[in-house]
């Protein structure tokens, strides 16, 4: 169940990027970092402190959850903890993107009219 505040207020950039990174499937910590970097064309580099601190709050808000602990065949034989979006997380992401779209529409309308 998503925290009411989380669903209604704008998300922090870190939370938005993590939700976005997990929107295409489950990932482990390093995988999320790399996806965030790729999604932002290298502009956002998230360290472990920010990543896991944000994930702790997101798990408490019910936006993401641990899905599994297993070996990533592309990355050696260590087991990694995977995370995935919850239904509430997907809803929060969609709500945030909708909010962004409305802001962009207002901004483009103003710029088009020159004021």
């Amino acid at each position: 169940m998503a925290n009411k505040d989380t669903a209604q207020t704008p998300l922090t950039p870190a939370v938005l990027h993590i939700l976005l990174a997990l929107s295409t499937g489950e990932r482990h910590g390093y995988g999320i970092m790399k996806q965030v970097e790729a999604d932002s064309q290298g502009k956002v580099k998230m360290g472990p402190g920010t990543l896991y601190g944000s994930m702790r709050r997101m798990m408490e808000a019910g936006l993401i959850r641990e899905s599994d602990s297993r070996v990533d065949p592309e990355m050696g034989d260590e087991r990694r903890i995977y995370y995935e979006l919850t239904g509430a997380g997907r809803t929060a992401l969609e709500a945030e993107l909708k909010r962004y779209r409305s802001v962009v529409a207002v901004a483009e309308g103003r710029l088009a009219h020159g004021h």
Binding site: H28, G29, Y30, M33, G47, P48, G49, T50, L51, Y52, G53, M55, R56, M75, G76, E78, R80, I81
Partner: protein, 249 residues
């Protein structure tokens, strides 16, 4: 090769740094964070990029996260302190009301402050120790041990003051055994179980060895009272033993 050695060293230091996170956070994410750092180091090593600048950035960034998480934990600690302070105030009402009702109960303001500090310190000790472990037997064991220790200390001080027999302070040596034992055991369940059994044995030995100097009737009541303390310390020891065995399982 040099980078590999440096990478191993940084990974060791990073694992040490993660210990500064609050325990609950560390238990949940520590392994994942260490693994992620390991992956990042490997990526840098594979690209033959220097590790120093990268490690410095990650260490600073993680340190900021540690400060954030600990501040949040301090907020929880603040809530705990408030609850304990209010609980101690509620308990203080007992002697406060009693001093108004019972004839001859004339405590000074300083005595009430002293008693409040004792209640608060005991409550905070319970709150801080009990939250170290989730096992119910550990929490109840801490509660029983603190209650019995507090009551023994209290009754010993009152009896010593009333009777004028300073040798009765020997009973406090059972509490000294408890404090030293708890420190040596580092609050681990198995060590605490042994400590509480040692406290019970110490108290029983003192009761047997020390002449009470009281009339037979009073001496019998004191023996029963101390028997109750011995039973409480033993029960607390058994609870810690249960917690220790449950943890092993």
């Amino acid at each position: 090769m040099v980078t590999n050695v440096a990478g191993r060293r940084y990974r060791t230091w990073y694992a040490m740094l993660l210990r500064l996170y609050p325990r609950t956070f560390r238990e949940r994410f520590g392994e994942g964070m260490a693994q992620t750092f390991h992956d990042l180091c490997r990526e840098h090593e594979d690209d033959r990029r220097g590790l120093f600048g990268f490690a410095l950035w990650i260490f600073c960034e993680t340190l900021a996260g540690i400060v954030r998480e600990n501040i949040m934990r301090m907020d929880q600690l603040g809530k705990t302190m408030l609850r304990v302070a209010l609980g101690a105030l509620a308990l203080l009402m007992v002697p406060l009301v009693a001093s108004r009702v019972v004839e001859g109960w004339n405590w000074s303001a300083g005595s009430f402050v002293f008693v409040y500090v004792l209640f608060f310190a005991t409550g905070m000790t319970y709150a801080l120790i009990a939250r170290r472990m989730g096992a119910w037997s550990y929490k109840v064991g801490v509660g029983v041990a603190l209650f019995a220790g507090f009551a023994l200390g209290w009754s010993t001080m009152v009896q010593t003051a009333d009777s004028g027999h300073p040798e009765r302070l020997w009973y406090l040596s059972a509490l000294a055994v408890g404090v030293v034992g708890a420190l040596l055991a580092r609050l681990k369940a198995r060590g605490l179980a042994l400590t509480l059994f040692a406290m019970a044995a110490t108290l029983a030995l003192i009761v047997v060895m020390l002449p009470s100097g009281a009339p037979p009737d009073m001496a019998r009541r004191m023996a029963i009272g101390h028997g109750v303390f011995v039973a409480l310390f033993t029960a607390s020891g058994l609870l810690f033993r249960h917690a220790s065995l449950a943890r092993l399982e």
